[in-house]
Amino acid sequence: MFLNLSITDPINNFVTWLVSHYGEFFHGITLFLLHYFLIPLELALRWIPPWAVLIALGLLGFHATKRFLPTFLFVACAYLIGCFGLWDKLMLTLALMMVSTFLCVLIGIPLGILTSKSNRLRSIVLPVLDVMQTMPGFVYLIPVLMLFNLGKVPAIFATIIYALPPLIRLTDLGIRQVDADTKEAAAAFGTSPWQMLIGVELPLARPSIMAGINQTIMMALAMVVVASMIGARGLGEDVLEGINTLNVGKGSQAGIAVVILAIIIDRISQAYGMEARQRRLLNGKR
């Protein structure tokens, strides 16, 4: 009943060809990312004394939430990770997550703006996002690894592939949902498209975009264990080692550290998103 079709060999041959002809080029990208982004950031994060990081976290937490109890809990939980002896690995994971998120924002928000302006682009981008979100990770991890060499860089690419879609989707949605009357009013004052975007659409879409960034960060953290399966160091390493040696305790301890990191970042970034919403409400009342 079925035709005998197989795309196995063409894909295998393509990957082999890519690796043997363009390996050098991709290795260059790896070195660029490592030497200009990751390694300096890692060095800095590991050089700053833990107490300074804790104080900074406290200040940031208070600035975001404007409440004492959550701020105290953030600092206490981060301190707990240090007590587990995982501080160094926490910093490595944080560095990886920050670089991935930065690149996601750099790619995701402009792309989200473009898709919100063009229905045709949107109809092309959406299926690609579906593939990125559902394709099993290891399918693209192995070729990415062969191109970018084992370690942190393929981990960043894998994280971007997995964590980018929600940011594009939510940026697109946020801009499309900006009130048509508001835009008309702005247009009546003769705003240029650029002014419209910067002054009207982006500020009004901010809660949605912040939610997108929040989701991107959460998904980046979910990739920590997968990243360690291709040689990225950090908290995932301990989870993996725990799994491989049936050391449930060790795995759980590192797992809890990932969860704590995720919750702290989630609460802080949500607080910033919320603030915008509340501010808009206040403006509305006035």
């Binding site: 062969m146 060499n149 080692e241």
Partner: protein, 348 residues
Amino acid sequence: MKKTAVKIMLAAGLLASATLVGTQAQQNSPSKYCAAGNTVKFAGISWESGQFITEVLRNILEKGYGCKTEVIIGSTTVTETALINGDLHVWAEEWEGFNDIVIKGVKDGKAKLVGKILQGGTVEGWFVPRYLVEGDSARGIKALAPDLKSVSDLAKYKDLFKDDENPNMSRLLGCVSGWVCDKTNDGKLTAYKLNSMYQQFRPGSQAALDASVASAFQQGKPILFYYWAPTSLLGKYDVIQLKEPKYNAKCYELEKANDPKACASATPSATLRINLNADFAKSDAALTRFFGKTSFSLNQLQKAILRISEDKISASDAAMDFLKNQKATWSKWVPAGVAQKLEASMMK
């Protein structure tokens, strides 16, 4: 109406006779466990030699002993734990002394290792591509490390293996986190006085290790990596194993613990055995005797592995090939009656 009734009766009759045949074959089985109608459960192994051995054993059990068998897949940790708990019965390629779960299981009397399935044992160590030492004029690769023969030469060539993520150090592509070789490699770097220049890079998974080795070979780049045989990867790529100082039991123990005072020693050849659930082994002397006699040559295993990985045939087909062509080997493992039955089934 009548017709359907006849049909049902016919079907029932067929079913009954089928089960009768089934139970007869099982009742005649020299294995007590299978005669009682039980299924022998094998752990699914992820690497080719393990799959091949599993399929050979299963075919002999099914066709020679009249057993029912089943393969349950899972990660090593999961299946080894299941075997110790009695949910699985056979783990076909066990590296003796490598898995803490099994070591503890054997000590507690819950698992039993039988047989020596690989004549001569395994090979384990550090490897470099042959083109790195001898060059490859066909591919236009120059010999970058013509004098690299043993681990003591690594200091001289450390610039070849630079670690991108830590440019002051060189990279030994090492062992998957949590495996025994993880600590041993670190211990060896100390013992060979290389730890100020080289650091072990843990690939995180075997898939990642294999992919990086493949990538280096495809690009003709230098790479220094930990590996072992029997495996398809070493069958596929032309490598040179770096010579290491002679095996010394005391030094090796220190290396394995990554002791800072470790002294130099190569990894001893490991014994491959079959791991049986202890209760299962106790309940069935006939099958345990068969498992204990199973033994392959390195050549037989490497050949089967290459057929699976390169010719892309299934492990089950590779096992049938072996059973058809290597009667001299397997007939020594089983009683004459079982061998006859197995042979008769393959004639069909």
